[in-house]
């Protein structure tokens, strides 16, 4: 790293006390954690482990339990069941002020009666840090989030982006073993959000800290996180890297929640080596690559991402004039949605179903564009298909 930040030695100076496990070592272990509010089971037996230095995202629709899970990590809610181990110690019942974990709140929760400096120093004073050290640390944090000159301002004299930085500096000042971020960028506009995403990632990498971010914005989770845990109805539906989550969703729900996808229900018909033929109602017989995990005999679904589908006026042929594509579907363009970088076509298949195909607009002049009601051939390879248990 080019620049050396003074005192940025996380492990030695954590205000929370205990030394932090080295990067890559397991830091946080969540075991069978559950939380019920009245009749509503908000978090339903979640187990998860997070490594030191990891940038982890909890992704899910609103009400899926991701915020409740985060609040249990911070200590604002006590789990009804399960254990939360931080560096080997069970903290499930510890109070928030006893945990070496800090949180950045969704609406920042800056203390309106305190200046930027006093907001950042708040946690340090509580930790009993000597005054001189507090001044140094605050100055360091102010520099880190580029807020020089604003130390004496009150929160309501700051812009949204500046407030977000103060909240980040305040949460980082104690050098927590784990930083929780609850929808940290939701209040910012798109451009600012994108630049802040990059800054957060850079900061996390530079400080070597462990971040857990809660978000409902899948693009944000994909951009920033090393791993994503997708939650649905209180359960973790899948924990995977962004790429794996997108290209190899493990369930129909995950496939539909993350990005756009075409789904065709059907049944396994024939096995041919590594290939499987699945008869679908809406798209006829599709040839797919056999998934690594054996699929049962019951109902299956074939999932194909829109950008994996190629469109052409005629089916592709080789020099001998034989059709090369394995899965070809014919239909007419039913809807066109121009998105700038790509265009999404909805194709009404001759077999009855609808197909969504996303085509990159690689040429400026629209010689390749299709028009409404034009007859097209959609084709894709067996490897582009994901087989899901229905």
């Amino acid at each position: 790293m080019a620049e050396e930040l003074p005192g940025m030695n996380v492990a030695a100076e954590t205000a929370g006390g205990d030394a932090c496990p080295a990067t890559g070592q397991p830091l946080l272990l969540i075991e069978g954690v559950a939380k019920t509010f009245g009749m509503f089971r908000a978090v339903d037996g979640v187990s998860l482990d997070i490594k030191a230095g990891e940038f982890f995202a909890l992704l899910g629709p609103s009400g899926c339990g991701k915020t409740t899970l985060l609040r249990m990590l911070a200590g604002f809610e006590a789990p009804d069941e399960g254990r939360i181990l931080l560096g080997g110690k069970d903290i499930a019942q510890a109070l928030p002020h006893e945990r070496p974990i800090n949180m950045m709140f969704q609406n920042y929760a800056l203390f309106p009666h305190l200046s930027v400096r006093d907001n950042i120093a708040f946690g340090l004073k509580r930790a009993g840090m000597p005054r001189a050290d507090i001044a140094t640390r605050v100055a360091e944090m102010v520099a880190l989030v580029k807020l020089e000159g604003l130390e004496k301002r009150k929160p309501d004299q700051l812009s949204g982006g500046q407030r977000q930085r103060v909240a980040l500096a305040r949460a980082l000042a104690r050098r927590p073993q784990l930083l929780l971020l609850d929808e940290p960028l939701a209040a910012l506009d798109k451009k600012l959000r994108e630049s802040t995403q990059a800054e957060l990632m850079e900061l996390q990498r530079r400080l070597g800290m462990t971040f857990i971010i809660v978000t409902h914005d899948q693009e944000e989770a994909m951009t920033m996180a090393d791993r994503i845990g997708v939650m649905n109805a209180g359960k973790l539906a899948q924990v995977a890297s962004p790429r794996e989550l997108y290209e190899a969703p493990r369930s129909r729900w995950v496939a539909e929640f993350v990005g756009d996808i075409n789904l065709f229900d059907g049944e396994s018909k024939l096995r041919d080596g590594r290939r499987l033929v699945i008869g679908t109602r809406d798209a006829g017989a599709l040839v797919v690559t056999e998934p690594r995990e054996a699929v049962g005999a019951g109902k299956l679904a074939v999932a194909i991402r829109p950008e994996k589908i190629k469109l052409s006026r005629r089916a592709p042929v080789n020099e001998a004039g034989r059709e090369t594509a394995i899965n070809t579907l014919e239909g007419v363009i039913a809807d066109i949605c121009y998105l700038g970088g790509t265009t999404t076509y909805k194709v009404k298949l001759d077999t009855g179903g609808m197909l969504q195909a996303s085509v990159a607009n690689s040429a400026r002049l629209d010689v390749d564009a299709y028009s409404l009601n034009q007859h097209v051939v959609a084709w894709f390879t067996p490897d582009d298909c994901v087989v899901l248990q229905s």
Partner: protein, 304 residues
Amino acid sequence: MSSRRIFAKPARFAAIAPYVWMVLFFLVPFGFVLKISLSQTAIAQPPYEPVFDLTAGWDALKAAFAALSVDNFKLLASDDIYVFAYLRSLTVAVTATALLLLIGYPIAYGMARLPKRWQAVAMVLVIVPFWTSFLIRIYAWINILQHDGLLNQILLALHLVSQPVVWLATDTAMYIGIVYSYLPFMVLPLYATLAKMEPALEEAASDLGAPPWQVFWLVTFPLSLPGVGAGVLLCFIPIVGEFVIPDLLAGSNALMIGQTLWLEFFTNKDWPVASAAAIVLLVVLLVPLLLYERLQKRQLEQGR
């Protein structure tokens, strides 16, 4: 431009209406009281002189002005009775307001932390006593506190005392009455500030390592100061001038300024001294009001 003119008249009237109100119902009566306070008592109708008679001509008016004096204010300053009455009023008001804050804050805090639908119930419970006449409620307290009243019966039944305690005609009874009567005025503004405080602020303080008592003193309390200020003023100012509660519940050896005023006005028929006492009371009460206003202005300026 014509549309603007249509609205100009009512708008201008709306703007001056509060001033008209202030002049009619505050400044004019205040002028009367001020004039009477500068007059001398007389056995006449009205019971003071001089009397301004606008029909008597310019010279009579000049003579009447010349007859005005500040003697009554000198009397107030020189006679212990008045000085002590002011001091007692201030002491009672400060003590009672402090008690109200100590009792009202936990109630308001508890209310603000209740589930939403229970907050409305609690609010009604705080306000419900107001639906009964204030005097009846004070008489009810006389009933409770008297020699063979409910309080003594309970204390005797529990064997906490061996013979009835004298409650009535004591300062304790007066403080009970004042705190009871003014509690809603303390609780409601406090509740209003505490209820609209963002819960995440307390969580943030706790997250940053503050144990519960520090969360309260460093975040909750400072942020509730506007409510504290409003509650304190709403209680302190009327308590300084309080007349009924000390008259009915406290002993007669030490009087508050409200009682003194009443005596001068109705028993001694000394309107000028009573008016002077009222003017001094007003000036005394202006001090905390001006302080509060300056505090609020500073907060507003900091807020900008």
